[in-house]
């Protein structure tokens, strides 16, 4: 981009609309812990567009409503069939990427989960979301896009 000074190799070029998340199912509690990595500028754009706020993510002037707005957004765009509770845990804002943490309560004996992951599908036509579900028996992964926003993942209990 013109006028974009490279200061270090840590900067991320942003020509692609992708996100990656990791979910972990705890069979003793039935809780799914999710950590999701999104581009910070996309997240800011989404908050501006959907909720008409100037979020200033991670800064001293961050809008006080941000966390509840994110909870609101995520709980409608990241859904698991049969979920009983969505709980916001927190976020970690970096200049490039922001991590969002939340948990979803499921039945303890769940063996198969149907996930709808349509985060940013309202923003970008080409958005792709990747999810790794970690369980005791290994990891299963899924790829979500506008054509296929819902996937079924198996939980390996051992």
């Amino acid at each position: 981009m013109v006028g974009n000074l490279p200061l270090s190799g840590d900067e991320i070029r942003h020509d692609y609309f992708v996100s990656v998340a990791e979910a972990e199912f705890d069979p003793s509690t039935g809780r799914v812990k999710v950590a999701m990595k999104l581009f910070t500028d996309d997240l800011e754009a989404m908050l501006k567009k959907n909720f008409d706020v100037a979020p200033y993510l991670g800064g001293p002037n961050e809008d006080g409503r941000v966390d509840s707005l994110l909870t609101n957004y995520l709980s409608t765009r990241f859904r698991i069939k049969g979920e009983t509770e969505f709980q916001w845990v927190g976020k970690e804002v970096n200049p490039d990427a922001t991590w969002l943490y939340f948990t979803i309560q499921m039945d303890r004996n769940t063996t198969e989960i149907t996930i709808t992951h349509s985060v940013f599908f309202d923003m970008f036509e080409d958005q792709v979301n990747i999810l790794h579900l970690r369980g005791v028996g290994g990891t299963s992964s899924a790829y979500f896009n506008k054509e296929k926003p819902q996937q079924i993942l198996t939980i390996r209990h051992e």
Binding site: P6, E11, I12, V18, V20, E22, S140, S141, Y143
Partner: protein, 190 residues
């Protein structure tokens, strides 16, 4: 789907994605002069490109060295510009040119860093090389082979059906690639 398959797919789609045509354009400028009968030369070229881009992809993927992404996004179109200009020379029109094999290797280093920028966006800190970096790399190789095959098929079709000389096709594609790469380079000026 398991993690391995997912990253294999992501690697394949990354290079074969028409929206990310810079790598495709580079392969086109490298191989437009070739026909199926030059397969030995093509193997050398693809191998040089692969070895070098895999080296830098792994270097960056393992955080050994990573140049600023904005430089890489600028240098990728520059590799296309240089190759397109080189195609105007005698060696550039020779489907057996050693200089071009050398260019495939050196410029491959730049493209590998480009692949790594995308790779970094699609992995987690906990991702390991065997279930993500390895399949991603293999996916890129498969995609690359497919692209070269398609380029050869188009070249053969043009030559045998429409009687277009490889030399003319090489010049035509180089001109198109030069224009597009110039535009990309100007837009990605670091």
């Amino acid at each position: 789907m398991n993690e391995f398959t997912l990253y294999l797919r992501l690697g394949f789609e990354h290079i074969a994605d028409i929206r990310a045509f810079d790598h495709i354009l580079f392969l086109l400028t490298l191989t437009a002069i070739a026909r199926f009968k030059h397969w030995k030369w093509l193997i050398w070229m693809v191998t040089a490109f692969t070895l070098c881009h895999t080296l830098t992809l792994i270097m960056a993927g393992l955080n050994i060295y990573r140049p600023p992404a904005s430089w890489i996004e600028f240098l990728i179109p520059v590799t296309i510009l240089v190759t397109a200009l080189f195609n105007l020379t005698k060696a550039g029109m020779d489907p057996g040119s050693r200089a071009k094999v050398f260019m495939a290797g050196v410029f491959g280093l730049v493209h590998g860093f480009g692949f790594s920028n995308y790779y970094r966006m699609i992995v987690l800190d906990s991702s390991d090389i065997w279930t993500s970096l390895l399949p991603f790399t293999v996916g890129i190789e498969l995609g690359q082979l497919l692209i070269v095959l398609i380029i050869l098929l188009i070249g053969a079709l043009l030559e045998f059906v429409f009687k277009v000389k490889p030399r003319d096709w090489n010049l035509f594609t180089s001109g198109v690639a030069f224009g597009l790469a110039l535009y990309l380079a100007m837009n990605n000026w670091p």
